[in-house]
Symmetry: C3
């Protein structure tokens, strides 16, 4: 049994409902008093990139998560695909080489994986 | 390599096809003779809550899973959101503080995660 | 922290977009120079079986993944359900007793799980 509680949410779908749910679940985990979290991460890629961009409809919620200490990460392959760069991302969102490489690293490091 | 075989299925989608598939996969795992399972869990939340309610179209299959020893859990945030309480759930379904907290705890405890 | 980097992609959805994305992500991981992978697996089941069949629209990409050393596995429950047999699969695709049993074994053996 692991000592640390760490979780990554995989934000990958393009539907507004799915993106809303992913953010709601991340918010729920920050608010669950029954578990002390050591880290919460959100990995955005493919069609799931929109909420972590400044122009995204849900960017305010992503900004609040970042301010709450959630590690929000964006896949650089996805940025290239949609012709975005780091300046298009909500402040505090980190860029990673590939979303799938980062998901592998995080799970190896003991993060639970949740795909809303 | 872990000694125990434990798996949690994440039942989260609202489509009937997706819910049917999630239950079918849980049933398949109880029936796979090539692997000895120490625990099988199903975590229902968001739109995926319906099958674990008494009124749900698939409640008979959930009842059979519970009788077969599968641990079926419902997210209390979801119950509050849909104005449900424990008495609305199939007998034997357990309530957990938050679905995402429970998924974190289970994976920390060595459960594999499957999102149908 | 695990020493080995191993990841399994769960190919389960029936939409062409979702199947394309799953294959793209597996390809991305083979190409990510920032992480040295010890194994990459793709587990196909349910509606996600199509790309790993010889007649599948994406069979060329699956063939290329196999040639690139990716372990591609097909669920035998799914083959039975769709009246397929091993000869219908792309050469090099392995059959497993149940997709969910294999996903449990792989995660127990340290594989990260990614559900595109």
């Amino acid at each position: 049994m692991l000592e640390d509680n760490k979780t990554v949410f995989h934000l990958i779908g393009g539907s507004a409902d799915e993106q809303d749910l992913a953010l709601t679940l991340a918010e729920n985990l920050t608010e669950d008093d029954s578990i002390e979290m050591d880290d919460i991460a959100v990995l955005a890629q493919a069609e799931g990139i929109d909420p972590v961009t400044k122009e995204g409809d849900e960017s305010d919620r992503v900004r609040a998560l970042v301010e709450d200490g959630v590690s929000v990460k964006a896949c650089s392959n996805t940025l290239a695909m949609f012709d975005l760069d780091e300046s298009d991302l909500v402040d505090g969102v980190e860029t990673v080489s590939s979303g799938v490489g980062e998901l592998t690293r995080l799970q190896n490091d003991g993060y639970a994986y949740i795909r809303p």
